[in-house]
Symmetry: C2
Subunit: 148 residues, 2 copies
Amino acid sequence: MTDLCTTNALRLIQVAEDFRAGLSGEFSAVHGISVNEFLLLLHLERATANRLSRVDLAKRMHVSASTITRMAAPMEKIGLVGREVDDRDARLVFVVATPTGREKLSQSLATFAKRAGYLFSDRWEDAELKQFSQMLRRLIGGTDDALA
Amino acid sequence: MTDLCTTNALRLIQVAEDFRAGLSGEFSAVHGISVNEFLLLLHLERATANRLSRVDLAKRMHVSASTITRMAAPMEKIGLVGREVDDRDARLVFVVATPTGREKLSQSLATFAKRAGYLFSDRWEDAELKQFSQMLRRLIGGTDDALA
DNA sequence: GCATATAAATTGCACATGCAAGCAATATGC
DNA sequence: GCATATTGCTTGCATGTGCAATTTATATGC
């Protein structure tokens, strides 16, 4: 409250949760997936070779490895993702998006973009958007596991 | 990702989740509460008369009313919050922070502020923090249910 | 004033998630 | 090369959460 950093962190959380909550309803209604499933597909798309091991996915999504196991199972069943094993290390089971999964991601991304447009409505100049983008970039850790 | 609004929304979610994930561990370890319990206490502190009905709390926290019922129960048990009934409308059961709850909030807020300081580390000028704060403010709906 | 509609809160049920344990495969120390 | 440690993944259990139905209380139509 008094501290600017605190205020900013609180507002950051608030804006993100507001946006995510609005997204959640439209995603399940229109695309039949959760926001987390969308983010999983997006992480795959952004990853090198378009595939990630379960532990990598877990770290990037801030969830446990067991959650990835249990998220991937139904997504495999409906054909959004598949699994690939590593030739050298038989422990690794990669999650990889199928063409169906990529199509689902593409459609969901359109919905996401629409709502992102609402969020920044009309009153944001292009220069402001760029500046905001750079500020957010500074807040994301230097690791290459970022979505955007 | 070509779209700036989309990039910004993705980064917003990413930064908020990164920060929240880091916070989560320290909160449960040091203060024995979850981030959501912290936010509940914070919403009470920010509310007029320092109390809120369960449905109000649910709307502000983007959770269902049943979640509030089930969050408040253990918090009552350990003395962080109490309940007050409305004189005119016997349906309303307000959640109100106890002195113990306020003390817990105060301590947790210190942890929050410390991590918020880490987030914006050294390289942020005061003017940048202010500008960022104003940008975030524009993204928060005009309603008065904001935390900061 | 009474019947109906609406609203707040709770509860049953289903599902999602984290933690700890277990299992399988690889890496390390000697 | 073998015993041990580490890693990746899965599963059992406990907890958290949403949706729908229920209950209790207030508001509305007449």
